[in-house]
């Protein structure tokens, strides 16, 4: 593949296997920029990137900021609390205002599923979805794919088990689509309240039990359990969740000696993962964060044409 023809990165469904491979390859070659003493290349000099975050975020937002700056783009941030949207402006008006200032890329996070798709229909700029509601988180999926490929040498035929609140998770939805597309098998496990209807039709296997999911996996991905879900009756207590769906190092080793551990963060230590497992050598969590910058650099670069030599100083 010579060229990347996508205008937006909205979800994993709209990317082909070849495009995903191309993104991962590009990210791998860009990774070393972050390891140099001078972590900056002029590739996107003169490009304007707006980080439009309508929902709290630390790692994704920082990751995008760093990625843009390492490519020398000019970045601007708008967050929900500081934007005119708190004054009652509609999303469409905010977006039209932004458009009038001619940004090249808008990186967007929003609590409403489909918001980036809506925005992309009204903008000339490229839109990168940095997470929309319960729908999609394509850059997280891509960095997860990159981390797995880097660690295990391939994605094809691997078994990924995702444990936790699948129902509310855009990470789970994107990973189910992304990993399946790349030839892996994805299994989900959770209390039945957290398994959304029809998830099997999206390509995920629903595990018979937690043990089943952990035992038959090359990678176990734990998701954060959100305390606020308690009030909507999805689970009773963190104590009970940790007891039946939490992983400790000992529990993991008793079920599966070889599996790697991933987590999109932030972790609730002692709930879905114990501290000894989060910091164990089998944990790829820090690698995920590092690769996040490379994936985002690759996407910014490819959306802007990807014609210049990205590595030249």
């Amino acid at each position: 593949m010579d060229h990347f023809h996508q205008k937006h990165i909205l979800d994993m469904s709209s990317l082909t296997k070849q495009e995903i491979d191309y993104i991962l390859n590009t990210a791998s070659t860009l990774k070393d920029i972050s390891e140099r003493p001078i972590k900056k290349v002029p590739t996107l000099r003169g490009k304007s990137i707006v980080h439009f975050f309508h929902e709290p975020s630390t790692r994704t937002r920082t990751s995008f900021e760093i990625a843009a700056k390492r490519l020398s783009a000019d970045t601007f941030s708008i967050s929900a609390s500081t934007s005119s949207m708190t004054k009652g402006e509609t999303l469409l008006d905010t977006v039209n205002t932004l458009q009038a200032m001619h940004p090249d890329i808008i990186v967007m996070r929003h609590s409403a599923s489909g918001a980036p798709h809506f925005v992309s229909r009204h903008l000339n700029a490229s839109v990168i979805n940095a997470g929309d509601g319960m729908h999609a988180h394509p850059t997280q999926c891509l960095l997860d794919l990159m981390t797995v490929r880097e660690t295990l040498g391939k994605i094809q035929d691997l078994r990924l088990s995702i444990i936790g609140d699948i129902f509310h998770s855009r990470v789970a939805r994107s990973n189910i689509i992304g990993f399946t597309k790349m030839g892996a098998t994805v299994t989900v496990a959770a209390p039945c309240t957290m398994i959304p209807s029809g998830i099997d039709k999206l390509g995920a296997h629903v595990a018979k039990s937690f043990e089943d999911a952990v035992t038959n996996a090359d990678i176990v991905m734990a998701l954060r359990i959100q305390k606020e879900r308690q009030s909507n009756f999805f689970f009773p207590t963190e104590r009970e969740y940790a007891n039946f769906y939490g992983l400790t190092y000992e529990r993991l080793k008793s079920m599966n000696k070889n599996a790697y551990i991933m987590h999109p963060g932030p972790i609730n230590r002692g709930v879905e993962l114990s501290s000894d497992i989060a910091d164990a050598k089998e944990s790829l969590i820090m690698k995920q964060v590092t690769n996040g910058v490379a994936i985002r650099m690759a996407l910014l670069y490819l959306l802007m044409g990807g014609t210049r030599n990205a590595h030249s100083n």
Partner: protein
């Protein structure tokens, strides 16, 4: 201990067995079930037996199971304790009972569940299987730790007398329970519709008492059947009392949904006319209904639409019952009258004896996932011995239960429990 039960008629509907057999028990287990002319395979001789029970003219069936009792322990021990409740159960022929969680505190913590089981173990023999609450404090605001409660010994989950009004909570409870293949028991009652003290109809109108319509039950039966279809969770409907509920259950079963149902002896025996003297011993929830409903309940039992007879044994002291009807507590005790009233259905040809045993032993044990009750070699010695020929008068004064609140005091009955055997232990 080696026990030989001789010459009794063994009835075990699971094996379509209805014949005279000798039962050999050693310790907790049945060693052999042999016909009288079988001379080989006898595990021990009469001389070697520590106890010989002559069951001539009596029947022996798998131990009876009551999946709906209230033992008031912890919290209201003046009404009943686990010990007195277990003694009443053993005298009623029950080897197993399931205790509802509306104790004080509510059984919503593994520690309370464990307390109940341990206290029963040191009692007369009848086993207690606690039903834990669906929501903490049965307040309907969240889920209990069903997994931890199950591991502590909870056999099912119900908010019983504080029914789950919020349909979203009920949906989540059923989904969450499915993670552990746990059973949800629904006490079907819409609390707003049920703001009355007896059945709504001509009797309540004549007596000037606020009525509770049949729909207060059936709207929730229908809701929970719909949620059962949505979630695929096992659902058991408690103390069904109306014809409309029966229709809904019939529909659900036809659809193949995992729904089971119980009724109580008073709903197939009495009608709301029992309330005519303002007798607080006829006040219960759901209330006694009309003859149409009673007949529908009987029909449902005979067709197997209702799977289980359970007592809803609800002890209250005189303090709660010797008051004006409006103010009286709901509920009657039933452990020591249930079998006699069930046998009336057999005498009236509504049920066969085998059907009654299914509904009082086999079906409830299966629904609660208890170890199979089978009168055969290698199975636990859980047996109930009944003399069908004895005519007797129910006497509340002689009850083992701490409470006396029954409308059946003085009733003439035919058929009496002679012995209850739990794990090879003679309870009576």
């Amino acid at each position: 201990m080696r026990i030989l039960i001789e010459n009794g008629t063994v009835i075990d509907p699971q094996q379509t067995l209805d014949d005279i057999r000798n039962i050999y028990i050693d310790g907790t287990t049945i060693l052999a079930v042999l016909s009288q002319d079988e001379k080989s395979n006898i595990p021990f001789s009469r001389d070697e037996a520590d106890h010989i029970y002559d069951a001539t003219g009596q029947i022996i069936c798998p131990g009876l199971v009551d999946i709906h009792v209230h033992f008031r322990d912890p919290g209201q021990e003046y009404k009943e304790t686990i010990e007195t409740g277990c003694r009443a159960a053993a005298h009623g022929g029950f080897t197993d009972v399931c205790c509802m969680p509306n104790t004080n505190p509510i059984n919503d913590q593994p520690e309370i569940t464990k307390y109940m089981i341990e206290k029963a173990t040191s009692s007369v023999g009848t086993r207690v299987h606690p039903v834990a609450a669906i929501s903490p404090g049965s307040k309907g605001k969240g889920l209990t730790e069903m997994g931890l409660l199950r591991d502590a010994g909870a056999c099912a989950f119900s908010d019983d007398g504080h029914p789950v009004s919020d349909p979203q909570l009920m949906r989540r409870a059923m989904e969450y329970a499915r993670s552990f293949d746990a059973l949800i028991i629904s006490h079907c009652e819409d609390l707003r519709l049920a703001e009355g003290v007896m059945n709504e109809g001509v009797v309540s109108t004549r007596m000037g008492l606020a009525g509770i319509p049949n729909a207060s039950e059936s709207v929730m039966v229908m809701r929970d059947i719909a949620l059962c279809e949505l979630t695929g969770s096992r659902l058991h409907l408690a103390h069904i009392s109306t014809a409309q509920s029966v229709e809904a259950i019939r529909f659900a079963k036809k659809k193949g949904l995992p729904v089971t149902a119980e009724t109580a002896p008073h709903y197939f025996t009495l009608t709301d006319s029992a309330v005519l003297e303002y007798d607080t011993h006829a006040k219960m929830n759901p209330p006694l209904r009309t003859e149409t409903d009673r007949d529908a309940i009987r029909q449902a039992l005979s067709e197997g639409i209702i799977d289980v007879i359970a007592t809803d044994h609800a002890p209250h002291s005189e303090l709660e019952k010797q008051v004006p009807f409006d103010q009286a507590a709901n509920g009657i005790i039933g452990l020591e009258t249930s079998l006699a009233l069930g046998l009336k259905l057999v005498h009236d040809k509504v049920l066969t004896l085998a059907q009654l045993i299914e509904q009082m032993s086999i079906n409830p044990a299966r629904i609660m996932r208890m170890p199979e009750k089978r009168i055969a070699r290698g199975y636990p010695a859980d047996l109930t011995i009944i003399d069908l020929s004895i005519t007797h008068t129910i006497s509340a004064k002689s009850f083992q239960s701490k409470s006396r609140n029954t409308p059946f005091d003085g009733w003439k009955c035919k058929g009496k429990v002679k012995q209850t055997i739990v794990n090879g232990h003679l309870c009576l």
